[in-house]
């Protein structure tokens, strides 16, 4: 057993390369620590490159080792990617949010992880570095190999940061969930929307809900129905109905029935669209 807190990127890559498959990256550890741990752990929670929160030329860079608590406290994220702020504020508990990271929320690959759902709606892409030095940039939804199974091999590859386009004027985002309790509870369902408004009509929409598939699930049909629609209650009602038709959900004895979850997804879709549209109008007013 070994546990190394790594402080620079080269150190991480060379350790992954030299130690082989017994070596794995760990960050907050709130999920991983409850599983059987590999022999050698590389803790990246102090890796400067994975801790950035900054806007560079119309792109938000959000480090994978940023904790949920830090994300919630960032005024820049609240201004530019509000859905992410809202999602992070509802993860676990204060103690878990102080440890757990955005990268971990995605790599743990739970089907309704709040931050991952928000990131998918925001169109975030993940930047990964293999120990060979090769890099790739991938959409959030492509990082899932199955239920609770990530497509990222943390013995070989580091998820460094997320990039989100923040240059669109007149855009807004929102996240909502329902859980049995206000904290320390996984959601029965969650939803996030990003949209762009022009002349009081929807120009672009990304709508994501979970748990539907292993990965956060885009509702492409509902999105296309919304494009060109005015920002009125009727649009949100129709979208809620379309979302209920579009999703194929499963029920669970532990949380709720499939019918209830479908209904809930409709309600949450209506709410996030309305809130995101309000924010897009406010953003336009400020621009």
């Amino acid at each position: 057993m070994s546990y190394q807190v790594v402080s620079n990127l080269e150190q991480v890559l060379s350790a992954l390369k030299n130690r082989g498959e017994n070596s794995r990256i760990i960050a907050g550890g709130t999920d991983l620590f409850l599983e059987k741990l590999p022999e050698k752990l590389l803790d990246i929670s102090a890796l400067a490159e994975a801790l950035v929160i900054e806007e560079r030329g119309g792109t938000m860079l959000i480090g994978a080792a940023v904790t949920h608590a830090r994300a919630v406290a960032s005024p820049l994220l609240a201004k530019k990617v509000k859905a992410l702020t809202e999602a992070c504020a509802q993860v676990g508990s204060p103690q878990v949010r102080n440890l757990g990271t955005l990268g971990g929320n995605v790599i743990n690959a739970a089907p309704a992880a709040d931050a991952a759902v928000a990131l998918a709606a925001l169109g975030a892409k993940a930047e990964l570095i293999h120990y060979s030095g090769n890099t790739r940039t991938v959409e959030i939804e492509e990082l899932y190999a199955g239920f609770n199974c990530s497509a990222i091999d943390s013995c070989q590859e580091l998820l460094l940061r997320f990039v989100v386009n923040s240059s669109d004027s007149g855009s807004g985002s929102a996240f909502a969930r329902l859980a049995a309790r206000k904290s320390l509870a996984l959601p029965l369902a969650n939803a996030a929307a990003w949209l762009r408004v022009e002349h009081n009509c929807l120009q672009e929409v990304r709508l994501v809900v979970a748990p539907v598939k292993p990965a956060p699930t885009r509702l492409f049909k509902t999105e296309s129905l919304l494009v060109g629609r005015p920002l009125i209650a009727e649009s949100w009602r129709e979208a809620a109905g379309a979302a209920m038709d579009e999703v194929e959900v499963r029920g669970s004895l532990l949380r709720c029935s499939a019918d209830y979850r479908r209904h809930l997804i409709g309600v949450l879709v209506g709410r996030v669209l309305e809130t995101a549209a309000g924010r897009a109008l406010t953003a336009k007013g400020e621009a």
Binding site: Y3, Q4, V5, T30, S93, Q95, V96, L99
Partner: protein, 162 residues
């Protein structure tokens, strides 16, 4: 199991331990350092009984690998009383009846302590949020909320911050 040297600050004192870095900080504190004030409830981050302060932040010590504490600062419930003098939070918990079985109290108090470091005049909502990761199964939360408010006032009157 391979042990290694871990140096960190515990309750204000720099210490060095020789331990398996992949055991939890909770195990290290309780079993190897004898600090049994920190409680183990669920052991999986769901109850908050094991809450300690890591570099100023409340964390579940059951979810923290001991190796993560390296070169960092850890505060446990044992750091609060100064000799015979209890911390205002501890006094307030007793005065307001916020303790029944007492098992959640150390974790609850450490979460409240983290809050009072950030905010000297917390609102009810801030208090409820701060302790939302701590389960109490007997006292109910009302007395706990009142105790934290009362401790904040005591600290303010004494011109202290925690």
């Amino acid at each position: 199991m391979q042990k290694e040297q871990i140096c960190f600050t515990l309750n204000g004192e720099t210490i060095e331990v020789y331990t398996d870095p992949t055991i939890s900080l909770l195990r290290l504190l309780r079993d190897e350092l004898g600090l049994t004030g920190t409680k183990e409830g669920c052991g999986e981050g769901e109850c908050g009984a094991c809450t300690v302060i890591l570099d100023g932040m409340a964390v579940n010590s059951c979810l923290v690998p001991a190796g993560k504490a390296k070169n960092r600062s850890v505060l446990t419930i044992e750091s609060l009383a100064k000799g015979d003098k209890y911390h205002p939070l501890q006094e307030a918990f007793v005065e307001k009846g916020a303790v029944q079985c007492g098992f959640c109290s150390p974790g609850m108090i450490m979460s409240a302590y983290a809050l009072l470091q950030e905010s000297s005049e917390p609102t009810s909502i801030e208090i409820r949020t701060a302790i939302s990761g701590n389960l109490c199964r007997c006292s109910g939360y009302k007395q706990i909320e009142e105790a934290v408010l009362s401790a904040a006032e005591k600290l303010k009157n004494r011109g202290e911050s925690g």
